[in-house]
């Protein structure tokens, strides 16, 4: 191949195979940690605790990824999660409802919230950033009101039954998360219905012209994200035996970060669920490493911030390299005068 072709191919591989390069980074990172802290890092206890803490993030990331690929965002998932935990706990402790009722009701509330927000974004046309920002505020207020301003603590065994047990050595939340991952990896990668999100995120107008039910799919994505966040919230309450009011704070930004590190583009249409999950794993490993190495907690966000920034800058630079080398003919955009930097 001629040098420009080779460069282009390399760039493309790095760009499109973000999952691969991330996997590589993870393996290297894991290798370093194993070498430095062989007993602690590779222990079963460590392994389990990483997985446990990750499981809630994973459920939120799955929903967020579907939305991001479809070109939207949900800034309310953190509060949704917290609110659902509170609702679940209260349904069982104050109203004394059995698990079989409290669980579906909580999820149904989550679904209804998602449907309302989704309708506002997809059918009324409100910007999703603002709409979900507002929704988050509402959830925050509702949960505080319902809980009387205090976290709901000391939840009894009926509440925690679905969260506290273990199976095959791992705690239940890990299995729930695994189930969600398996289901949605299949849906996103293989099914026709979810493939449509890529089209919608690439260009919603063209998707509409092609007969893809854009509004309906976006609504669905918001419902999914909401239900998953709800589920994560109630499982969290179950596992930790209390519904903490601020438990979900900042989760949406964390999920967006994980997705971006994993290759999801904020503008839509680009990236895979597998990549986003690897991004989540990456952040979880970094967190874990910092704890083991007893590095002060503040290094974690610094590290994450730098990595995220590096990743997206690299994206932009590679895109420029790729386009100047790979473009064979000027499209209407290229033919327009470029927005001159100066």
């Amino acid at each position: 191949m001629r040098p420009p072709d080779r460069l282009r191919a390399m760039g493309r591989a790095l760009l499109f195979r973000r999952s691969l390069s991330l996997l590589l980074v993870l393996l290297v990172f894991g290798g370093i940690m194993t070498a430095a802290y062989p007993d602690i890092f590779l222990s079963r206890y460590n392994f389990s605790s990483i997985l446990l803490n990750m499981s809630f993030d994973v459920m939120v990331v799955v929903g967020m990824t579907i939305l991001l690929i479809g070109g939207e965002v949900d800034l309310s998932v953190g509060w949704n999660l917290s609110m659902s935990g509170v609702i679940y706990a209260l349904l069982m402790t104050r109203l004394n409802l059995p698990l079989a009722v409290a669980l579906p009701v909580t999820l149904a509330i989550g679904a209804a919230c998602g449907a309302l927000v989704g309708w506002i974004v997809a059918y009324v046309g409100v910007n999703s950033f603002i709409a979900t920002l507002a929704a988050g505020l509402v959830y925050y207020g509702v949960e505080f009101w319902l809980a009387g301003g205090q976290s709901v603590t000391h939840l009894g065994p009926e509440v925690t039954s679905i969260g506290m047990a273990s199976w095959l050595g791992q705690q239940l939340p890990v299995w729930y998360a695994a189930g969600v991952v398996v289901v949605f990896l299949y849906l996103m990668n293989r099914t026709k219905a979810f493939r449509q999100y890529t089209y919608i995120g690439m260009n919603a107008q063209v998707a509409r012209y092609s007969g893809i039910p854009v509004a309906r799919m976006k609504l669905l994505a918001f419902v999914i994200s909401s239900v998953l966040a709800s589920f994560a919230g109630l499982i969290s309450a179950a596992r930790f035996a209390n519904a903490i009011l601020l438990v979900g704070q900042g989760m949406e930004l964390k999920a967006i970060t994980a997705a971006m590190v994993g290759g999801i583009s904020f503008t839509g249409g680009v990236g895979t669920l597998a990549g986003a999950l690897l991004g989540t794993l990456f952040i979880a490993l970094v967190n874990n490493a910092m704890i083991i190495a007893t590095i002060n907690a503040f290094w974690q966000p610094i590290f994450i911030g730098v990595v995220l920034l590096g990743a997206v800058v690299l994206d932009v630079v590679l895109l420029r390299v790729g386009s100047s080398v790979g473009r064979t003919r000027p499209t209407s955009k290229a033919a327009q005068p470029p927005a001159a930097p100066e």
């Binding site: 293989r190 099914t191 026709k192 219905a193 493939r195 449509q196 890529t198 089209y199 690439m202 260009n203 107008q205 063209v206 998707a207 509409r208 012209y209 092609s210 007969g211 893809i212 039910p213 249409g269 100047s324 080398v325 790979g326 473009r327 064979t328 003919r329 000027p330 499209t331 209407s332 290229a334 033919a335 327009q336 005068p337 001159a340």
Partner: protein, 513 residues
Amino acid sequence: MGAAGEPGRVVLSARDIEKSFPGVKALKGVSVDFRAGQIHAVCGENGAGKSTLMHVLAGAYPADSGTILYEGKPITLHTQHQANTLGIAIVYQERSLVPGLTVGENIFAGRQPRRLGLVDWRAVERGARQTLAQLGLEIDPRQLVVELPAALQQMVEIAKALSVNPRVLILDEPTATVTQRESEVLFGLLRRLRDGGLAIVYISHRLAEIFQIADHVTVLKDGAFMGTEEVSKVDEKWLIKRMVGRELYVTRAPSPEAGERILEVEGLSDGDRFREVGFHLRAGEILGFSGLVGAGRTEVFQTLFGLRARQAGRVRLFGKPVRITSPREAIALGLGYLPEDRKEQGLFVEMAVCDNIVAAALDRCRRFIELDRKKVLRFSEEYRSRLSIATPSVEQKVLNLSGGNQQKVVLAKWLLVNPRILVVDEPTRGVDVGAKLEIYSILRQLREGGTSIVVISSDLPEILSIADRIYVMCEGRIAGEIQGSAATEESLLSLSSRFEPPGGPARPAGGEA
């Protein structure tokens, strides 16, 4: 305006301009002179290099080689702003105005008059009023741009360009988004400016307009200069021959017997761009919809396809009344719509050819709930060979294909849906000649195969050579219906151009359907 220039003096010259992009040589040594007091049209098919030449002259990109002479002196242009300062102004199709700001402020963008370091709003208003008045525009400079209709925004764009008192004004397809009546007013404005000594470069591929407004015309084809002549001395055939190089349109094949009416439309109106539209389509025919831009043809079919809201009217499809509210429904009922703007409406430019081809027919590629990649590739390969789409692989991004091949990809997408009625909107816009002929042949084959086709086109020879029957729309209404065999360019043009007397919006016409 009155730029100092005796008519005939050469203001701007291009000499042997060459410009290449990766993979294509857009300009191959083009030389043209533009004179003060003249409207000089530059025409050619899309891809001929008119846009590129215009960008080079306006300073948007540098030429690879060749010289630009301004007022007789060679200059090097680095930025558009520099060209502006020198006196070369350009108005693009895309709006560059800020909708949330006033007309006056937009006109003075980047160079607001100042007083004590702050913007002198009175001077802005005064200056803008003056500029607008000189152009015959009664627009209040304090009005927000967003409140003006699109055509007036275009006028403000022109006013903005003119406010720097340029010697040369370059216009890129200025009538692309305005109605017939608005074009007339625009032309009046341009004529006044020309008489005041401005050199006007008018880029267009609309031949009818060139004869209306231009004094001189230059033809470009595939980046090469094909000739310059006074407009009064040439006719359309002269232009087409240079634009295209050969007789483009084959003689009409005799129309087959048309079947029963499969689409009947009565009194259709959307309350905005068209009203009282009534027509019918027969099985097995190719129906043409002619008319100038803004006539409402695209809007009619977008409404039928479920993309726009219908306000009134009745539609019968295959004998049954229907009310289509989404493209999804339309496709399910057997309709297909190949849109006007393939980059914004027809293609996912960053996605692969195969992904684009199956985009409207994802259900056909299903295996239970899964998307069967093998089927996707199989269909794509099938259409790649059937339509002769030139691409190294079906996994190539559509972005990298030529205009003609991109259009074939969109066509493949709609063929895969297997519609009984396919509407194609400007099917050969921006398509090279070879691909054009292929597309016509594909459409004819479709008709043989039983698909009925509606062709919306502003290209008269195109419609004449391919349509069995033609409706002409003008200003939102059907102006007439002509059999393909009986139609001529003159008859189509005259029906398209009938416009309302000044002073009132269109009223229900008496007489013709």
